[in-house]
Amino acid sequence: MKVLCNGEAQEIASGIRVADYLIQLGLDASSVVVECDGKILSREEYGSHALQDGSVLELIRFVGGG
């Protein structure tokens, strides 16, 4: 199935959970905030929230800024 992640179309395994998707991307879940279809997920939801075909994801983190 396909999702749109940070503006890029990605082919991912059907029904994959957010926590596993972050591992696949090599990201440390503790430093990433996930917005899925406009809704911010809490860290506790990463393990249970399954991505749907067509989901729009934003993976955000802190960077240097003034």
């Binding site: 993976l59 955000i60 983190r61 802190f62 960077v63 800024g65």
Partner: protein
């Protein structure tokens, strides 16, 4: 000691974390600055090049994170960024920035006020970046801002305190701390702001892009301290006419 929203700060210099040449230089410069609160921004992760997380470089026990909403062009975007910052573990403190015009990066007063009202309701400790408008400062304070952050000059310009007249009024009227932010390009600029009675200053660019950011951070820290001590000590009155500093009496033997 400076207190904002019940939290005490020994240092009146707040640091930014943008534009440093490396995380190591940033870490060392922030340590040299003595600052206890640092701004951070939120951005999309580049999936093809996920750089190290800034949270892992900075000691959260040493620095209070002040996430900003940089990049937001209206209240809705700022509120979205604020909620993401909180969900990212950024806490309740927020530097609210709403800058619709990328050329000037001047803050939108109306959207900033709207966003302040909403975010205060949601429990954020809001420090709005604002143009140096004394009336707006009072409106933001009434809306629940825990401090106000009037600009000295536009972000990243290093032009110093071009808004002196308005900032003097803001300082005279404000019940919340006044943090002069943006455009402070030299230690003399922050000394000027502190001599005027600003409670604190925020500096990013001028330290980050200096030839030697670590030594420059130290220079800024000294200037902030000097300016504050001068303010507390009571500066002399400014006058157009000269006044001799040596006695006028006792010159009879000359003539």
């Amino acid at each position: 000691m400076l207190t904002i929203a019940g939290r005490k700060f020994r240092s009146r210099l707040f640091g930014g974390t943008g534009k440093f040449s490396s995380p190591e230089v940033m870490k060392e410069a922030l340590a040299a600055s003595g600052c206890e609160m640092v701004t951070v921004a939120l951005r999309r992760i580049d999936l093809n090049n996920p750089v190290d997380d800034i949270m892992s470089v900075l000691d959260r026990d040493r620095y209070l994170f002040l996430p900003n909403t940089s990049g937001a062009r209206d209240a809705a975007e700022a509120i979205r960024l604020a909620r993401l910052a909180r969900a990212s573990g950024g806490g309740e403190w927020l530097k609210l920035e709403v800058t619709p015009d990328p050329r000037t990066l001047l803050p939108d007063p109306i959207e900033t006020l709207k966003a302040t009202e909403e975010l205060v309701k949601e429990g954020f400790k809001v420090l709005p970046y604002m143009n140096a408008d004394p009336i707006l400062a009072l409106r933001l304070q009434d809306a629940g801002a825990v401090a106000v952050m009037p600009l000295g000059s536009p972000i990243g310009t290093n032009q110093g305190v071009l808004t002196r007249f308005q900032i003097e009024i803001i300082i005279a009227q404000a019940q919340v701390p006044v943090i002069v932010d943006a455009g402070l390009g030299a230690p003399s600029h922050v000394a000027e702001a502190m001599e005027m009675g600003a409670d604190a200053v925020l500096v990013n660019t001028a330290i980050a892009v200096a030839g030697d950011p670590v030594r420059m951070a130290r220079a800024f820290a000294m200037a902030v301290e000097a300016g504050r001590i001068a303010y507390e000590s009571g500066l002399g009155a400014v006058s157009k006419d000269a006044a001799p500093s040596s006695p006028e009496d006792g010159l009879g033997f000359l003539r």
